[in-house]
């Protein structure tokens, strides 16, 4: 796995000049992802903040081939690019350059409107990596709730009001949905841990077939957080076990980082985010407790899955 020094020495393939807000999580993800890949790579991106901010004609931040088609279909579109490559290599029309293919989408473009397209592409077994940058809402259209929005977050379509405490449903577990597709590699990581992120991208690239990584990304605008806190906020999500770092290779779960006695209360993480401000008002203690119970339960379940696999001697 590449060291920071090695990564820093590589040519930048996702460059500045884009119009993302300061402290936005996804630019980091794309910069690191592309730094971690040494082979030629083509990227397909879904409509959303990332695409809209990085390819405003006549400018582009992408120094690799980049294609945007629409919102819900980056996986299907990428599968077509990959199929074209395989076909033309096989028929001798182009040479085999070990091209790699990446599709990405935001949480809206992946958990919700693009889920079918993603599911189909993963099931068909294309040699591609799908990366979802999950900032927990439809940010580009103004912070609407998505299937990835955490319970009780304030969004513009599930706003905190006199009778509603924000989004009332739990976030989907997308990584597990992808594990259910029996793909060789699924991982969960964060925008603020360069090592974990690049390790996972490198590992994904070493595997042929469909791969999926979901990355927690800050959105200072939607989360109502400080722009300098990108690393801290995503790391705290790991430390409180709301967003564990784990990977699933050929169906076997493995936790990459267990905070153990450094595990922090979820409230410490929520407190820094304006979207959860209402939870700290008197009378809402039960809501906070509910989130804590849910996170603890999910963490125990994840650990149990990992234990199960390690006891079977298959890790």
């Amino acid at each position: 796995m590449a060291t920071l020094k090695e990564l820093a020495a590589r040519e930048e393939k996702f460059v500045g000049g884009h119009t993302s807000c300061a402290g936005c999580g996804y630019p980091n993800i794309f910069r690191l992802t592309l730094a971690a890949i040494k082979e030629p790579v083509a990227v397909v991106g879904a409509t959303g903040c990332c695409e809209v901010n990085t390819s405003i004609f006549p400018y582009t931040s992408w120094k690799v081939p980049f294609l945007h088609n629409a919102f819900e279909n980056s996986a299907a579109t990428c599968s077509g690019v990959e199929a074209a490559y395989q076909s033309m290599v096989k028929s001798g029309k182009i040479k085999d350059e070990n091209f790699r293919f990446i599709a990405f989408g935001g949480d809206g473009g992946t958990y919700d409107i693009g889920l079918q397209s993603l599911s189909g592409a993963m099931e068909r077994g294309h040699d591609m990596l799908y990366i979802c940058y999950d900032n927990g809402a439809y940010m580009n259209t103004g912070i609407q709730r998505s299937g990835a929005t955490p319970r009780y977050a304030n969004t513009t379509t599930a706003p905190v009001g006199k009778v509603n405490p924000g989004k009332s449903q739990k976030k989907k577990d997308l990584a597990k949905i992808m594990v259910g597709h029996n793909v060789p590699y699924v991982a969960q990581t964060i925008a603020g841990n360069w090592k974990d992120l690049t390790n996972k991208v490198e590992k994904a690239m070493s595997i042929r077939g469909p791969k999926f990584i979901v990355v927690l990304a800050t959105c200072p605008l939607g989360w109502v957080t400080k722009s300098q806190d990108t690393v801290k906020l995503t790391q705290m999500a790991v430390d409180c076990c709301f967003w564990p770092l784990y990977e699933v290779e050929n169906g076997k779960y493995k936790i990459n980082y267990d905070p153990k006695d450094k595990k922090i209360p979820v409230a410490d993480w929520l407190k820094l985010q304006g979207r959860f401000k209402h939870l700290f008002k008197a009378g809402n203690e039960n809501l906070l407790a509910e989130i804590q119970t849910e996170v603890d339960q999910d963490w125990e379940n994840l650990k149990a899955l990992c234990d199960f696999h390690s006891k079977q001697g298959v890790v």
Partner: protein, 400 residues
Amino acid sequence: MTAVTEVKQLTVARTGNEAMAEAMRQINPDVVAAYPITPATEIAQIFSSFVADGLVNTDMVTVESEHSALSATLGAAAAGARAMTATSSQGLMLMAEIMPIVAALRLPIVMPEVNRAISGPINIHCDHSDTMFCRDAGWIQIFSENAQEAYDNVLQAIKIAENPQVHLPALVTTDGFIISHGMETIKILPDDDAREYIGAYKANYSLLNHEKPITVGSIDLQNYYFEHRIPVIEAMQAAKSIIKQVGKDFGEKYGRAYDLIEKYRTDDAEAAIICLGSTAGTAKDVVDALRTKGQKVGLIKIRVFRPFPVEDLTAALSTLKAVAVFDRSDSLNGYGGPVFTEVCSALFNSAQKPKIINYIYGLGGRDIDVHQIEAVYNRLNSIKDSKDVGDIVSYLGVRK
């Protein structure tokens, strides 16, 4: 004089779907992505057996929806591949979001499409409501009268779409069940001739060039979008002469010439019907029968609906006295059918124009027969010299 064909063609029995699949086999696309829908399912199904038997080099992407079918086809084409898909009705409408993106990216994707009524209510039979729904998507639209034309049109569509002056996607349609499942004797080119005719494809740009990376599908705002729409508009205009040239050239090579419109016995005609697709075949029989009775009637078949053949139509209609436009769909505009409104608008600035009426017919696969068509010619004969045309829009063959 055109020297009709030294190419020895094969005479075979094929349905419309089989004929289109045969053309696809000869085209041998790099990628085909498709999803089943009646009555077009067979096209991808037959093609899949060509893949399974190693008769083509195609990578077949068996997608989970038509939206993904066109998305994957777009991706493949942006990667520099020759890529195709096929669909009908609901499938076409599921693709609708991606269709204009294909056109704007100037990707010459050719799609066989079988005309079928759109829901609701759900129906699987022929009308043109699906294709008309997508008429402003920036795709060339070629309608076929029979299985022979379906085959010829798919081959020609490749030449048209990939022409450097055009570089637009193209739909080639047949009428659901009437053509798609009707067995006919057709002539097909020997494989070698077909492959030579189609030629190799060289994309203008490809995502697979990492030394010269390109960004495709940028967001394009107030300061550029308009300018970037103009070349698409111009390409559609330029397509008219290219389609004519390709059709003429096809005739010279293989004995079956094509144009934007087909005029059938219109030279001295006073009354004519305008229609698209399989109905033209039925109407030609009626014209022949009425001609033997001395009636001056003819038929104009619109083969290419996009680009709309304004010049050819206005010229062809200038000598006629009365015309009935047949629409196999209704615009739900509170007035009439899409072909009718476009023909009328084309004629508006002409000095010489006929009286013009509209018939909506055949919705949801309702049969149209020679008697109904004959009755329309009779009406045209009766109104051609009178002041009053009566109802401008009528519904043919519907129970009251």
